[in-house]
Symmetry: C4
Subunit: 191 residues, 4 copies
């Protein structure tokens, strides 16, 4: 079964998710710069989510590059990941419109946790389809980076109830780490 259409569909859904989040940036009716000020939490959470969804697209792009085969289980594992990503416009707005109150920040983090879990499941469904010598297997390795991110997200959700800004800081920190492009896949491919 070809991977082409899975890639195309995934790209389509991710492109829509990353773009409709901007619909939450409701335009103010004031005519001066100060009327834009109340938008900062929504804009700030939009930036964070744009980076996060961008990271997922980047990683999926690189990962599918090494994938050789997909099957029915992979299609559903991929749809599962897209489901949790599709909630990001809602959780982003929840966080932004409530000015980074603790519970909305935690809910945003729970969505990040579930996205990370879904990504791990997707990888685990792709593993049995690829031999231990396949580019995919070598590139993914033991996915330490993914596992550490997951632990960080869970810690961030819990620490949100101490102070929500600790949670937000961890979200940005993890994003920054991934922002540096994941060289695993390209390194293996170059060999």
């Amino acid at each position: 079964m070809g991977k082409g259409r899975v890639e195309a569909f995934t790209d389509g859904v991710v492109a829509i998710i990353i773009t409709i989040m901007v619909l939450e940036l409701k335009v103010p009716h004031g005519e001066d710069f100060s009327s834009l000020l109340p938008l900062w939490p929504i804009f700030f959470s939009y930036v964070l989510s744009f980076i996060n969804v961008g990271i997922y697209w980047n990683n999926l792009h690189n990962m599918f590059h090494t994938v050789q085969r997909v099957d029915g289980r992979v299609l559903w594992a991929n749809l599962n990941l897209l489901f949790w990503l599709s909630l990001m416009p809602a959780t982003t707005a929840f966080m932004g419109e409530n000015h980074f109150a603790p519970v909305p920040v935690a809910v945003y983090g729970i969505d990040l946790v579930l996205c990370a879990v879904a990504y791990t499941i997707l990888v685990s469904k792709l593993r049995p389809l690829h031999g231990s010598d396949a580019a995919f297997t070598k590139a993914v390795g033991n996915d330490r980076k993914g596992k550490i991110s997951l632990v960080c997200y869970i810690a961030a959700v819990l620490l949100t109830f101490v102070n929500q800004w600790i949670g937000v800081a961890i979200y940005f920190l993890v994003a920054a780490v991934w922002f540096v492009p994941d060289t695993r896949f390209s390194r293996v491919l170059e060999k």
Copy 2:
């Protein structure tokens, strides 16, 4: 006539349908977990529709994989299916916002019936373009699974007026049956 662009357009429309449904998840302004509670019927109907649209994408993905030719009638039969799928964000919201009241649950089911009928029509327009030995013909067979689903949906719509939760249960049951990937197409292709 190539099938490539029909696949691409179908993927595009389905990707948009599956994603804009999330716009109905209007963000609450409360700052605690309890403010999320009233969202449950909308979230619950979103999950059901995400699975249903996902099933259609999956089946279309697998079916078009074996398709060799398309013609003008197929293009319109496909657009007909996309039309009824495009109503799903509206029927999903109708069901969710009215907390699974009987009529909205029935209307949702009527849309599922019409999608299933449209899928059957699409298959019937593809049949004459493929010989009896073609992978497509063998894979589709007599489409018993599709016909049973259609009967189930009609039963669900009628039983909704006894108790709407019977209808909802049948919707989930049929989804669960399809959730197990349709192996017909991949089985035939492997030979």
Copy 3:
């Protein structure tokens, strides 16, 4: 210059246009069938526009199939067509929400006129890039069907001010004529 990305971009924009129109189908809060009744003008105009945009996609699909070359002028002529098509969600809603009042019906028709003019311009920019023996040139011919449609749309706009239902009837009539797939392109290709 390759036509692939022009096709892909056009498909993307058309897929979004055809799908976001459904966002106008605002969900009623009533719980019985009668609460759906006030939606009929919006639903009815959605059906008309879905068919119209579907026809454009179909025709563009068939036409680009025979196209061999595109240049900068074609890109802009295509964007021009997409612009007028992109107004269709707005003109559809204007017509539906005002229950097919004469002016909104005329405005809808003016958009159809402008789409048809834009399509004609697109064809005229593609002509000089194809020899008189090219599949494209033979398939388009003198585009009589397109020209008659244009005249019909203009007549419909004017007759709307006599009675708006004459206009609506002509819109459906022209759609019905195009609904029968445009065999020009496939006929020429088969030779």
Copy 4:
């Protein structure tokens, strides 16, 4: 690393941006032509943004045509450009709904400046991946047109506070200059 999926994802996001802007054209409930009149600033800003986003799509289309390699830095530089383009529906609405008041016109221009800067960064990340003899390098040249546009946009933002219509006029002027298709890339390719 292949450029195919970067192109596809970029096309998808740009297609969505250019289309969801029309959602700001909120339909009036009046039934005569005069009810459309108050829409002119929103329509006018929509036209300007449609042209601007169309120009970016056109330029990206032509540029990626000559691109031979992409890497992780290019992916992020491209996402950065898409981020600033994704704000265009919001800045367009801000400008239109406030009837071209000076600050909203300046904010719109600041977004154009940031898009132009992001485009320049994208080009600079592509340069080291292409030899001095590559089609890409020859086609881009010193990107004088891009640099002049950037200076014009900055001037427009500043002059907005003298009179906002000077800013709007410059936005249209720069758009008109780019509207003439960028022949650099096609010229080099033809050799």
